[in-house]
Amino acid sequence: MDKLIFKVRDLKKVYDGKIVLNVNNLNFQEGKIYAIVGPNGSGKTTLLNILNLLEKPDEGQIFFYDQEISNKSNSDTLEIRRRMTLVNQDPFLFHSTVYDNVAYGLKIRSIPSKVQKSRIKSALNIVGLSGFKDRKANQLSGGEAQRAVIARALVIEPEVLFLDEPTANIDQKHIDVVERIIKKIKKEIKTTVIFTTHDLSQAYRLADEVISLLDGKISKKVPENILRGEIIEKEDGLKWFKTMGNIKFAIVSEKVGPVYISIDPRDVILSYEQFQSSARNSFFGKITKIIEQNHLVKLEIDIGIPLVVIITRESFFKMNLNLGSKVYLTFKASAVKLY
């Protein structure tokens, strides 16, 4: 069995009297890639900061290879802190060249400059910034800066690499690049990577294991159908959630503006005919995937965007559903959970 690199026990973190993190038992194995998913404010970043020893928990313990690390001062944990590193969601580059930025972690470890040079070269290579070493940090685009901070982290050859929302603030082209870098790290360096994301499909694409956080707690099931979009108010005063492909869900909400929502796949009713009901959301779509899970069946239905729906095995056979079957999806406005 693989070694456990982190063990988290009865961890609690409180901000302003509110429990933001409450994790009873969580293990991370050496060399694996973990994705932590969950909406804004679910405690992802706090968990990362505590594991990386930037913040201290209010209760509980963290073990790094069986060594208790959570309640020590920064100077006591220096050796352990130097075996891991974290890349922030909003990356910061020092006001100097890309080279100097990448060199920082090596300089403070007093690594000989000859060794520094070759390690910096290969780190810049991995993130595809070979020609950028003399570039000033403030001349980089958002995506380039994100890659530079990943190089700055990789160059110190950490045993654990934390990435907080590595693709949150950059364009699609750079998202692909960053995803490729993560895959490359997995293949070539075998560092344990723990990253957070809003994007469930990204999590499954990249990670060996997906950990779901909701309201600071590990949730057994990963929330399906997490969508990012915007709440708009129509003339009649009703609120709608609008997402990609101009798809709109009726929702119950006080606020407007950008949000994440999720729809519990068990709250969706399938039917061949559209029916009159009090439920305000009704969509027509085609079944694109069928996964049987014990007495339940998980369907992926394309309504312009893919939605996951879970029904019982009995209903599945009774309705005689197949790949490509066209069905109506109906769910109440209150089934849309806002974050």
Binding site: L54, N74, S75, R81, V87, F92, H95
Partner: protein, 230 residues
């Protein structure tokens, strides 16, 4: 009017013939003020940094105290230091009065609040992510603090240069503590005051031109660093 033109003529003559007396006065001025500012920077940058990053009891009071000290008149500094180091004072045994060391002490006291206040605001303006980024990359507390100062380097340098500009141009403390003794504690400002009073305009104007030149250079340097801050 003639005395001014004559004075100007004499001044340029003194400067371009590299007059010995003039230049030993200039060198002493630079030496005293540089030592004072280097010492003041060691303390001022450190305290200004701590005031910006640490939370401690009486923080607000200490900030307003430093800001008040910015307005400390040089003659008051002269008076206080004089009373401490004069032969009857508590530090009289060291025999510091009317020596360059006494002037350095006075200028040090003048420069410290300036450097603290400007370093404090420079470090406060630095992105809070600098420290965390340094820590996540494995820095010790000292290394991360050093990185914050490095990020603020241009503004901190500007603080030091401002301090230097202030002390090299002051006359009150230098006069009271140094005593304006020829070839010992006579600096540019005290010499200008004396020579003007004596009617030796040429000598005074020559020193005035050099002092202006120094002040001007300091301002160009300051401007350069302030622009680099971005």
């Amino acid at each position: 009017m003639d005395f001014i033109t004559e004075g100007m003529y004499k001044a340029f003559q003194l400067i371009f013939t590299l007059d010995n007396e003039i230049f030993s006065i200039v060198l002493l001025s630079l030496r005293v003020s540089l030592i004072a500012v280097i010492l003041a920077s060691l303390l001022g940058v450190y305290l200004g940094f701590l005031m910006a990053v640490k939370d401690y009891w009486g923080k607000r009071f200490s900030i307003s105290l430093v800001n008040t000290l910015l307005a400390l008149p040089t003659v008051v500094i002269g008076l206080i230091v004089y009373s401490l180091i004069s032969r009857r004072g508590p530090l009289g045994v060291f025999g510091l009065l009317y020596t360059p060391s006494a002037m350095i002490i006075g200028q040090f006291i003048l420069a410290v609040p300036i450097i603290i206040a400007l370093t404090h605001s420079a470090v406060q303006g630095i992105d809070k992510r600098v420290r965390n980024t340094a820590l996540t990359l494995g820095a010790t507390e000292t290394q991360s603090a050093w990185m914050v100062i490095k990020e603020a380097r241009y503004a901190v340098l500007a603080a030091v240069i401002t301090g230097f500009g202030r002390v090299i141009a002051e006359v009150g403390a230098a006069m009271m503590l140094g005593g304006n003794i020829k070839e010992s504690t006579r600096v540019m400002t005290t010499a200008i005051a004396l020579e003007t009073a004596k009617g030796e305009f040429g000598f005074a104007i020559a020193l005035g031109i050099i002092l202006l030149f120094v002040a001007f250079s300091i301002n160009i340097l300051l401007h350069y660093f302030q622009r680099k801050r971005v």
